[in-house]
Point group: C2
Chain length 407, copies 2
């Protein structure tokens, strides 16, 4: 299974996607296995941001809303993301954060039915569950959390909405979007998908899968920068039936008429709220543009090869470290996770050694295998250091535990 460093170098040389790496800035001496938490900096971003700040803002000022089409950015970037997720251009828009977008869709969708239950997975990404609990309280719904293996069976006549994360943030387990959406639809429930750990990593065909509603993150695999705005997807046939509870002026049919009455814009635009944070928004555009010319299918093929290489190397070099991610490619995303009783300290020791993965409470260390810019030698170096750390007990030193907590 495993291979030597020379094999890794050869695999990189033979990688048809290797040149994509040149689009990104990768810090010297760092093995960055955390692109599923914060994607790296695309080289084009720094220059674009400089022009945005000094020319568009600094020189053109408020005129840039038209002159540089700031006003059209949410739709323009949404259309670019649509291509990555198998959606129509006018079904995706960029706005706010994943949390806020989730709130909009859950409230809007919950109102089209009088069923009492909002169903999700226990252990789903916590912000999804917190937002859902806020929505449930506000709308008088009951939030029901089922273990992953029981979610589908719990869908029933009482289910108003099903909220699931497509690729699990911790284990990388992936739901069968088409099958689950169909199962919910047959029971008369809408499904909201969180694509945060899927978009830019695994091939998505939202239209083909019959997906109705989705949100996703801009700062992970899309490389949009820290806290980049998020996107939301509403299938065409639902757009006129749903109204956002967050009625900001950007979602008004005539935002520049300054009328007292709210009239939602037609289509996806109605899910805009306030003025978008333009510096972060345009950085996201640079991130999405870095996918130019490469299909998600080719990226996924590389992701699978990276996963197999990493998994094989860990099996060989770190025997006994239990992998909690599915080995079947169609059942997972693009990260790999391991359980370890001292996962936090292990993660800190790795970071101190230049290998950046992250810790997820209480006992998981997680490595993002981002196919756009990672190579096989990166993985070899990462596992080499992991093996050396695991073979040396000094990393359990409490000084590692004293380091920062956001990883």
């Amino acid at each position: 299974m495993g291979f030597a460093r020379a094999d890794a170098v050869a695999a990189d040389a033979a990688d048809p996607l290797r040149e994509l790496r040149e689009r990104f800035h990768l810090p010297e001496g760092v093995v960055y296995l955390d692109g599923n938490s914060l994607g790296v900096l695309p080289k084009a971003t720094a220059e674009r941001q400089h022009a945005l700040v000094t020319d568009e803002w600094g020189e053109s000022l408020v005129r840039s809303w038209n002159a540089h089409d700031w006003i059209g950015a949410p739709q323009r970037i949404g259309a670019k993301i649509a291509r990555l997720i198998g959606a129509k251009a006018h079904e995706v828009i960029v706005a706010d954060s994943t949390s806020v977008n989730l709130f909009k869709l859950l409230v809007a969708a919950a109102r089209v039915s009088d069923r009492p239950t909002l169903l999700s997975e226990a252990g789903n990404f916590h912000t999804d569950l917190h937002i859902a609990s806020g929505v449930a309280e506000l709308m008088g719904l009951s939030l029901e959390l089922a273990p992953r293996s029981e979610v589908e069976a719990r869908i029933g006549g009482d289910t108003n909405l099903l909220l699931l994360t497509h690729v699990h943030y911790k284990t990388a387990e992936r739901f069968d979007m088409a099958a689950v959406t169909r199962r919910a639809a047959e029971a008369g429930a809408l499904t909201v998908w969180d694509l945060s750990h899927s978009v830019g990593a695994v091939p998505l065909q939202l239209n083909e899968a019959g997906a109705e509603l989705a949100v996703g993150c801009g700062y992970k695999y899309l490389n949009g920068g820290p806290g980049a705005p998020a996107f939301l997807y509403v299938a065409e046939h639902l757009q006129e039936r749903l109204v956002s509870p967050l009625r900001g002026w950007m979602g008004h049919s005539k935002p520049f008429d300054f009328t007292d009455d709210y009239v939602p814009a037609r289509g996806i635009d109605r899910f805009l709220a306030g003025t978008p944070p333009m510096l972060s928004l345009i950085a996201l555009e640079s991130g999405v543009d870095a996918f130019e010319g490469v299909s998600m299918e080719r990226l996924w093929t590389k992701s699978v090869a990276l996963f197999d290489a990493f998994h094989g190397l860990v099996e060989e070099r770190c025997p006994g470290l239990p992998c909690i991610s599915p080995l079947r490619p169609d059942q997972r995303g693009s990260h790999i996770s391991y359980r370890h009783p001292n996962a936090f300290e292990l993660c800190q020791a790795l970071i101190a050694d230049g290998v950046i993965g992250d810790f997820r409470a209480p006992d998981v260390v997680r490595f993002g295998l981002t196919p756009l810019y990672l190579g096989f030698e990166d993985l070899w170096l990462g596992v080499d250091r992991l093996a050396r750390i695991l073979g040396d007990e000094s990393w359990r030193d409490p000084r590692f535990a004293a380091r920062g907590k956001v990883t």
Copy 2:
């Protein structure tokens, strides 16, 4: 009343705040009277953004959440804004947009009472009214809009919440915050203030005025950049009684424990939702830092002098142009507005001539008189061109009307 260009130059030379202008980039050949729509670029911002993008994101990557205290930015910047508005450091936080923050506060506050009415002003900034109508629908409240002169009289035993904009976006009329808040409190209602056209322009003493809840914009007088994140204020005594309906992970008491159950953070932190857009957030910090070393009282003194100079010049040079802003300083903000039947075309003609103000439907042209960086000669030049345009009918040419609409 009016004065010659030489007088304006002399007034600038004598202005004790003149050196503040050096903190900002003002485009050559432009008279920018729109800082109340989009503030200009502070010189420090471009350098800070470059370091943020290339070093903090590019090099340190996810480690910057701790290493560069990204995680503490919402509170840190909130504390800096608190100094500008007479609030305690832990009463202000930066997050999301003004619209989204308004939603959080309105829903959270409406739930502590069972009274049926959400009262606001007809003609209030439209996003405030749209957000309020969404909240009213969600919470089963009745949204009542009263003419400005009748708002106070309408406060009664049915009033759950009063939502007002402190300085009116169109006319610059200013409410007496202390008096109105007291009047509402005596009637048992909470007041939510929108400070978007006040913060960084007029002296605010939220604590002294007994203000309970407020939101405000980061991209106008705070010079935070296009679509900069907004802030919200919750008076200390209310913080533990209110829970945000937008329960994102950043507002959780232990965001890194990844628990299914939502436990709101103590204090103002509970009003955070998702991950903040860091590039836009840090740009806002540079904007707020540009107020370093100058009191709002001194800025206001200059704002009053700018207003008087502009108003006098227009009276002299553009007789018959009706000013719709209050002439008494304690009754207004830092912009001045005029009514004109062809306000849109007039505004476009001014922009074409390098004088940037803005049009507000249906018949208002508005000029922001930002004391941090504008001088008396700027105003002289602006009025000089305004007078020439008004004296020359060619600007009514339809080609001006064909230009962009976002001003």
